[in-house]
């Protein structure tokens, strides 16, 4: 124990942080040792991102202690955290698209010789770091815009390393990666670990965490739950730590046979650039889940139904009538609703009021009917349980959960017959999550056909009446309600049922 004690690079104790009076972190402890991969787990809204930002010097904690190599430090700016050897790789890439790899890696710390930036040294240093990582396929002089997503991530890591980082925190590093690229990242993380760097790995994906990490710290609702070696934890235990209750109680009852109605939406051999040969039926009253890894094409199916990137082959039938949907407007007018994955950039007009957002679809796509149902707005917002100061409050001041409820209200206001929801509970707290789940199920009971995409397998399995699993742009199989996570992952990774790694 004392030996590992010496390896401790960073120790956070009793970190608390509130935003606008809402506590986000309440007394969190975290300890990182050199050469370990330390997983940070917790549901969305558990406080992982905030903790990372505290570590990165973006947020200053309200109380608590940060030690680096045994000495207490206070980070006022990201730069100070950087100088202490802490580097963060954020979910969104922090790269300048039109600058070269070397320029990005050295941004803010360009080497200067005789008054001018020493470009050659910049490129050499970058190449050295790339070589050190075993990534020789990236040209330091190439602009970032020419790189693949995985290569950009490598550049992010190199950028972090070039500050002589001893601690590397990675926030959902696989979120944007395709399958094969994830394997590459595993390799990379392993190499970094062997070179004595402490890695804080934030991820939702059980498999990654168990494959990579040596220890796991679990947060729940902003509080520290436990920290234990990965080998001493099972995935069941981990889930229980994260959720704090048994999974079954979380989800509303599934559809019964009486609930199911006519086929609402049917795809036959539909495909476009991203997906191919998609065939399935969606009945009124049921919730069908779509599972698949990021980049597998699950969102592409939703966006094709929605007309953003339309299907180019096959047919789409709505209530038995073949339709061609080439833009979102056509989809809305046919009674299809779509809750997008990215709430802030695609779902809401943040500076507008709750009222304006809730009426957005009705006004934008169905002009003339705007005044018709004016009085029911209050009832509608009540039904989705939005908590706000009033319907004129701007939505950017709402919590993520309430924002998502406004998005749902926006669609309910036009009474869709088919509702496609992409990551409906991403980044919202547990209470709001349950409310969204209940709402979706209530909608299904009222005869709406719901197609649901989610990366959170427990949620997908808990909610769905059937699960379609997408792998590399095609449907790899269909599973019944209550399928095991292993079965879903097996299909999603292309191993087939029973051959789970």
């Amino acid at each position: 124990m004392s030996a590992s004690e010496q390896d401790v690079v960073v120790r956070l104790t009793g970190i608390t942080k509130s935003f606008l009076g809402v506590p986000v972190l309440r007394g969190v402890d975290l300890e990182l040792r050199a050469g370990e991969v330390h997983a940070l787990m917790g549901e969305n809204g558990a406080g992982k991102s905030t903790l990372l930002k505290v570590l990165a010097g973006v947020h200053r904690p309200d109380s608590g202690r940060i030690e680096v190599n045994g000495e207490e430090v206070v980070f006022g700016t990201p730069r100070e955290a950087q100088q202490a050897g802490i580097a963060i790789i954020h979910q969104e890439f922090n790269l300048l698209e039109h600058r070269s790899v070397a320029e990005n890696v050295h941004l803010g710390r360009e080497p200067v010789r005789r008054g001018r930036v020493d470009r050659r040294r910049m490129e050499e240093d970058t190449r050295k770091l790339l070589d050190w990582l075993g990534e020789d396929g990236i040209d330091p002089a190439a602009p970032i815009s020419r790189l693949s997503v995985a290569q950009k991530q490598v550049v992010e890591i190199v950028k972090a390393l070039s500050t002589d980082a001893k601690v590397l925190a990675m926030d959902e590093p696989t979120a944007a990666l395709a399958d094969q690229e994830v394997e590459l990242l595993y390799d990379l993380v392993d190499r970094l670990r062997k070179r004595g760097i402490a890695i804080l790995y934030v991820s939702h994906r059980m498999r990654e965490v168990f494959d990579l990490s040596g220890r796991i710290t679990v947060l729940k609702d902003g509080a520290f739950v436990t920290c234990a070696p990965t080998t001493e934890m099972t995935s069941d235990q981990l889930v229980r730590h994260m959720v704090g209750r048994s999974l079954d109680a979380l989800y509303p009852d599934r559809a019964t046979d009486e609930d199911l109605g006519e086929v609402r939406l049917a795809l036959r051999g539909a495909g476009n650039q991203r997906v191919r040969e998609v065939t399935f039926e969606l009945r009124s009253g049921e919730i069908v889940g779509i599972a698949g890894l990021q980049g597998s094409g699950r969102s592409a199916i939703a966006r094709a139904i929605w007309g953003v990137e339309p299907f180019t082959t096959g047919t789409l039938e709505l209530d038995g009538v073949a339709r061609r949907i080439t833009d979102p407007r056509a989809a809305v007018r046919l009674g299809i609703g779509f809750v997008t994955e990215d709430r802030k950039s695609e779902g809401l007009a943040l500076r507008q009021s709750i009222r304006d957002n809730a009426l957005l679809v009705r006004r934008a796509a169905l002009p003339g009917s705007a005044g018709r149902k004016r009085s029911d707005l209050a009832a509608l917002l009540k039904s989705v349980t939005v908590v706000a100061r009033g319907e004129h409050q701007e939505v950017r001041y709402l919590s993520g959960g309430n924002q998502q409820k406004v998005v749902l209200a926006k669609w309910l206001a036009v009474g869709p017959r088919v509702l496609v929801v992409d990551e409906p509970t991403r980044g919202i707290d547990v209470g709001a999550k349950q409310a969204v789940h209940r709402l979706l199920r209530d909608l299904a009971r009222q005869g709406v056909a719901v197609l649901m995409i989610s990366s959170e397998l427990p949620e997908l399995i808990g909610m769905s009446d059937r699960i379609l699993v997408v792998h590399e742009g095609a449907i790899a199989g269909e599973l019944p309600a209550g399928a095991s996570e292993e079965a879903v992952m097996g299909l999603a990774t292309g191993h087939g049922i029973g051959e789970v790694a």
């Binding site: 973006v58 700016t77 990201p78 730069r79 950087q82 922090n94 790269l95 300048l96 698209e97 039109h98 600058r99 320029e103 941004l107 803010g108 710390r109 360009e110 200067v112 008054g115 001018r116 930036v117 990534e135 396929g137 990236i138 040209d139 002089a141 190439a142 020419r146 790189l147 693949s148 995985a150 290569q151 490598v154 950028k159 395709a178 094969q180 690229e181 590459l184 390799d187």
Partner: protein, 339 residues
């Protein structure tokens, strides 16, 4: 390993060929100079048909001389636009600095250096105000510099009705003398453009300007002092405009309050910068393109003069050229993104 390897082989193949910059689609800078070349050829033919010559020594000098003042202002404007900002106060600043220089000199040889320095100092202060309003008061650059422009205008209208001050004869040489065949003004403009190029492309400060314009949050998270960078850009831009004013004082023999606005240097310089391929949103482009843009505008002017076209027709053509050029840049970016 395979996918990344393959993709990166492609990237590297493109990178090592030496033709990386010109591989698929030419950069805006190349496009600008190609357009300039085409314009010169077409212009020569048209002027030739009418029995004139476009590109004799006089013609070339004419184009370069016309480019001098706009070039100075546009080089400064390039710097702020690369920062994702812009400066609408340059036109009044040009007039103000011409007055400051001419009135300080007041015809005496000994006051030449103080006059120039004072004019540039005034310009730097105005730039500093612009920069601080943008960064400290967090006012959108459009409004901030428009506001400062209006303040300068008020000052000029209050205190001047026409030309004032006078520069000594020695200083007037700056406006008209030549080194060999090349006017001093042109050399001055090219020197400033060269210095700006060197600053943007070779120094740390210049690198940070591209970073701030590209994505201010990325720059901040990487430890770039974004506020200082923006303020510096505004000061440099203002000093370039001040230099244009000083040069004009030399050429006109006195300070003229509306010499900058009559020529529309505020919007015209932005037009030249954008025509030169610098993105109005910031983070991309450069001085070389801007000079190309300025040359295109002045070549157009010269051709129309030679053809004795109605001067108002020039404005029409300028407007169309500007829109078409930016539409082409936008188009190419789209095709690159989807391709």
């Amino acid at each position: 390993m395979s996918v990344v390897q393959q993709k990166s082989e492609v990237a590297r193949g493109a990178g090592r060929g030496g033709a990386r910059r010109f591989s698929l689609t030419p950069t805006p800078t190349v496009t600008v100079y190609l357009a300039l070349a085409v314009l010169l050829v077409v212009g020569s033919v048209l002027v030739g048909i009418q029995g004139g010559v476009l590109l004799d020594q006089g013609g070339i000098l004419n184009i370069l001389t016309r480019s001098t003042v706009l070039g100075l202002v546009a080089v400064g404007q390039t710097i702020v636009i690369i920062n994702g900002s812009l400066d609408l106060s340059v036109a009044y600043l040009v007039g103000l600095c011409s007055l400051v220089a001419a009135e300080t000199m007041a015809g005496s040889d000994g006051m030449m250096v103080p006059g120039v320095l004072l004019a540039l100092g005034v310009a730097a202060v105005v730039g500093l105000v612009n920069g601080l309003v943008v960064t400290v008061l967090k006012v959108n650059a459009f409004i901030a510099t428009l506001g400062v422009a209006l303040i300068l205008r008020g000052y000029l209208e209050e205190n001047y009705t026409g030309p004032a001050g006078s520069v000594p004869r020695a200083f007037q040489h700056l406006g008209f003398d030549r080194v060999g065949p090349v006017p001093i003004g042109v050399l001055l403009m090219l020197a400033i453009a060269g210095a700006a190029w060197w600053y943007l492309r070779r120094t740390r400060g210049g690198y940070h300007m591209y970073a701030v314009g590209g994505d201010i949050d990325v720059a901040r998270l990487s430890g770039v002092r974004t506020g200082r960078t923006i303020v510096t850009a505004h000061v440099l831009c203002a000093v370039a405009a001040g230099l244009a004013g000083v040069f004009l004082a030399g050429r006109l023999g006195s300070g003229a309050p509306y010499v900058g606005t009559d020529a529309g240097y505020d919007l015209e310089s932005i037009a030249a910068v954008v025509l030169g391929g610098t993105a109005l949103a910031g983070g991309r482009g450069g001085v070389v393109g801007t000079i190309g843009g300025v040359l295109i505008l002045s070549t157009l002017d010269t051709i129309f003069d030679d053809l004795a076209v109605d001067p108002f027709f020039k404005d029409v053509v300028r407007g169309v050229v500007l829109i078409v050029a930016v539409a082409l840049y936008a188009r190419r970016q789209l095709s690159r993104r989807s391709g």
